[in-house]
Every structure is written in C-alpha cells, then in structure tokens.
C-alpha cells in the first residue's frame, strides 16, 4: 500500500517538475535565426572556399604567381597563370580558377602560401544545380568585391 502512495505522490511531484521546466523554457528567448531574412555571421574559423586577398596599397591581389598553392593542392583543383606586364619587375596574376567540386577544404594551399595571399572565405550560400557553377574564377570575384 505504501508503494501505491509513493507512486501517486512521487508521480505527481515529478509531473509538476516537468511542467515547471517547460514553463521556464517558454519565457526564455528563442534561438531560431530567420535564415533568408536574417543572415547569420559565420564564425572566425569557418572554412568556406578559398579567396584571394587584395593588397591594400596597390589594389591588386597579393599573389605573386609562384604556384606553390597549385603544387601543394592534393586534389589539383587550383589552376593559375600570370605574366609580366611591360616595364614591371613582378609577375601579375591573370587567371586563378578553383575547381570546388574536388576541393576538400584541407587548407594546404593556404599553409603553403608564403605571401599570405589566400584565405578561407565566409561564403556558404553555394547551392546550384550545375557542376560548372563550382569552378570559381577567384580573380573575377576579387574584382567584383571591389
């Protein structure tokens, strides 16, 4: 008989504890982000596809076309080219393509770059139905960013 009463009283108590927990949760702020309307900021160490860094002084990419990233990439998804303009000493970048379909975001390209010319972007809106959309022209992207 005492077991029965323990069951009734203990059970009622635990039900009340459950209700109080949900009541507390009810008045806490919501954690949902209204994604398409409110775009969340990505964390500092988020790894998007790589992007070129601009040299603030000249307004051109920092890249010196050494090709270390291209050689370092284990999946061979970077292809770049450059040529020396008339009267200049350094090569200038003319093409920098990233084939994102095979990239595994390992970051070897960024580690192998001695000039700090590439970094992970915070770009994550990458949905598409065509494979060709994932071959990024990073030089054009940098120009578009202004």
């Amino acid at each position: 008989m005492s077991e029965y009463w323990n069951d009734v009283i203990g059970g009622s108590k635990s039900l009340l504890i459950g209700l109080s927990i949900t009541a507390r949760e009810f008045f806490k702020p919501v954690v949902t982000e209204q994604y398409p309307w409110v775009v969340p900021e990505m964390t500092e160490r988020f790894r998007g596809h790589i992007e070129l860094i601009k040299d603030e002084k000249t307004g051109k990419p920092k890249c010196i076309v050494c090709g270390m990233c291209m050689r370092g990439c284990p999946s061979g998804c970077i292809s770049l080219a450059g040529k020396k303009p008339e009267g200049e000493k350094k090569k200038a970048l003319t093409k920098y393509h990233l084939d994102f379909t095979t990239c595994s975001l390992c970051g070897t390209c960024i580690e192998s770059c001695n000039f700090g010319a590439i970094q992970f972007s915070k770009d994550y809106n990458l949905a598409s139905t065509r494979k060709e959309d994932y071959i990024f022209d990073l030089l054009k992207r940098l120009e578009e960013q202004g």
Binding site: L15, G18, L19, T22, F26, V31, T32, Q34
Partner: protein, 328 residues
C-alpha cells in the same frame, strides 16, 4: 424564453464563427506554444507572426482531392470525419457562456454533452474500422479502451458536482457558484474536502477524452503512423483536426462551468463573458503546455492510471461528498 426566429439564426452564426475561429486558431496557438517551449518561433512566414497560417493550411487542404482508397468502406469512411466534427459543434448549443448568452438552457445538458462526447469516440472507431488499414484498426481499438477507462472517473466526478448543486443543467450549476471564487466548486471544501483533487481528475480525463498527448494512444506516430487518420487526406483529415480542437474547447468549457464558476469573476470585478473566455483560454493553454511537456506512455500504464488511481480517488470523493451532504 424568446421564440423569435432571429434567436436561433444569431446563435447559429455566432457559435459557428466562434467554433470555426477556435478550431483554426488553436492550431496556430498550439504551434506557437510548442515553438516557444522548444525555444523556436513557430510559424512566421504567412502574415505577421504567421497569423494567416491557419487560412493557408485550410486552403491547401480544401484544394486537395479527398482520396478514397480501394478496399475501404466508402460510406463509413466519408461519414467518420463529419461525425468527429458535428457533436463538438452541437455541444455549443447548450454551453452557457454567460448568464444570458446561451442557445438553449436544456434541463439535462450535462448528460447531453457526455452523450455527444461519446459520439466523437464513435467517429474514431468508425474512421479506423472503415480505413481497412491494420494501423487504423489497432488505433481504433486502443482509443475505445482508453475512452471507456477515462469516461468512468469523469462521470463519477460529474455526479459529485451534480450532487452538490442538485441540478444537471449547466446554467444552474454555473449560477450556483456565483459570488466570488470561494463559491466555486473547486474550492467548495465545505461540500467535500477532496474537491481540488476531483478538479484535477476531471481535467486529466477531459484531456484523455480528446485523445491528445500524453494520452494520444490513438495516433501514436512512432508505432501507428497516424492511427485512425492514416488513410485520410484533404479536408477529411482537416475535419478530424478541427474536431479535436473543438473537443478541447468543449472540454475546457465543461471544466470551467463545473469547477471554476463559469462566467463568475473571482472578486466581483467587471462581470461579463470575458471571465468565461479567460478561464477557458487559460485551461486550453494548460492543455497545450501539458502536451509539449510529457511524453506518451505505454497503453497499459495509461489504463493503470485510470483504473488504479483516478477511479478509486473519484469514488472516494463521491462517498466523502455524500457524507458531507448528509452530515452538514
């Protein structure tokens, strides 16, 4: 009583509007409430704060075809959702919202309401049986055993209230409790010291009667797909949903009238129908709150709760009330 033709027409329109709005917007409240409890926002896209969501859902359901699968009992299959909705709508005819807002003051309105509630159970049984689907049949059988088990403590508790007030007319029961919250049946400790407990018993039973979580044995998603509603789409499903919400409203109205003094205001402030509405919406919020707090238990534990705890307690309360009435 006024016998003008406008009276039934006005009440019909009024109650239809009240019932329709409640059936639609309790769904919205439920989703918002569930969202808040789980720290989400609930519907947000259609209209301000998702206020037009029930309308969009309704339009979507109405635009779909009512599919009748082969191998079902055609007539019963079509009748079941209507049977789920109509008794709940009819119940509003005898519910007194305030002293002068009631369609018909029937002498045995308590009995009528419980008779109508049993028809809603029939709807689930017929819907499940006619579907010709094993999940639906299991669900129907469960629902019947559950409703049977929970109707007994509910009716025994009602008998206590009827003994206290000496009437089966909802209007009389509500009038009997007028004049401040110490007259309400829930606090009528001079009639029976167990009245608060019988209020809790009645409230639990009214949740169980509407087949809502944690008593949703009939539509246990995890093992029975959607139970008796598995084969229903379109407005057939819509009617079952609306019927469920309307039964919730009827249950809340009954609890308010039988235990919380109907439209009586606790301290005699601003008398009017809004006290009745306030009480039923607090109860409805509690029902939603309970649903999103407790998980479903197994069917035999559910029946244990009724047969081993609720029925003995309600019977004891019946005896205590009888003794109190005899002695004092």
């Amino acid at each position: 009583m006024d016998t003008s033709i406008w009276r039934p027409i006005l009440y019909l329109i009024g109650f239809m509007a009240f019932a329709g709005l409640n059936a639609a917007y309790l769904g919205w409240c439920e989703r918002k409430g569930a969202g808040r409890i789980q720290r989400r926002t609930g519907p947000m896209e259609v209209g301000f704060q998702g206020l037009l969501q029930p309308l969009a859902d309704g339009l979507k359901l109405m635009s779909k075809q009512l599919l009748v699968p082969t191998g079902v009992d055609g007539i019963l299959f079509r009748v079941a959702p209507i049977l789920a909705m109509i008794p709940a709508l009819t119940s509003f005819a005898v519910i007194p919202f305030a002293g002068n807002i009631q369609a018909r003051s029937v002498e045995l309105s308590v009995l009528l309401l419980f008779a109508l509630a049993s028809i809603a159970m029939m709807a689930i049984l017929l819907g499940g049986w006619a579907s010709g689907n094993k999940y639906a049949v299991i669900s129907a059988a469960r629902s019947v055993s559950q409703n049977l088990a929970y109707e007994i403590p509910m009716l025994v508790t009602v008998i206590t209230v009827v003994m206290i007030t000496g009437s089966m007319n909802l209007q009389d029961i509500a009038v009997h409790q007028q004049g401040g919250f110490w007259h309400w049946n829930i606090f009528a400790l001079n009639k029976s010291i167990l009245m608060p407990i019988s209020f809790i018993i009645f409230f639990i039973c009214s949740i169980a009667e509407t087949n809502r979580a944690p008593f949703d044995m009939a539509e246990a998603e995890s093992e029975l797909v959607a139970g008796f509603m598995t084969e229903y789409g379109s407005m057939g499903f819509g009617l079952f949903m609306m019927g469920e919400y309307l039964n919730m409203v009827v249950g809340a109205c009954l609890v308010t009238i039988l235990f919380l003094g109907g439209w009586d205001c606790p301290f005699g402030l601003f008398p009017g129908v809004w006290w009745f509405l306030l009480k039923i919406y607090i109860l409805l919020f509690t029902v939603i709150w309970v649903r999103w707090t407790f998980p479903r238990t197994q069917i035999y534990k559910l029946l244990n709760l009724s047969w081993k705890i609720l029925i003995p307690f309600s019977l004891v309360n019946l005896l205590v009330t009888a003794a109190f009435i005899k002695i004092f």
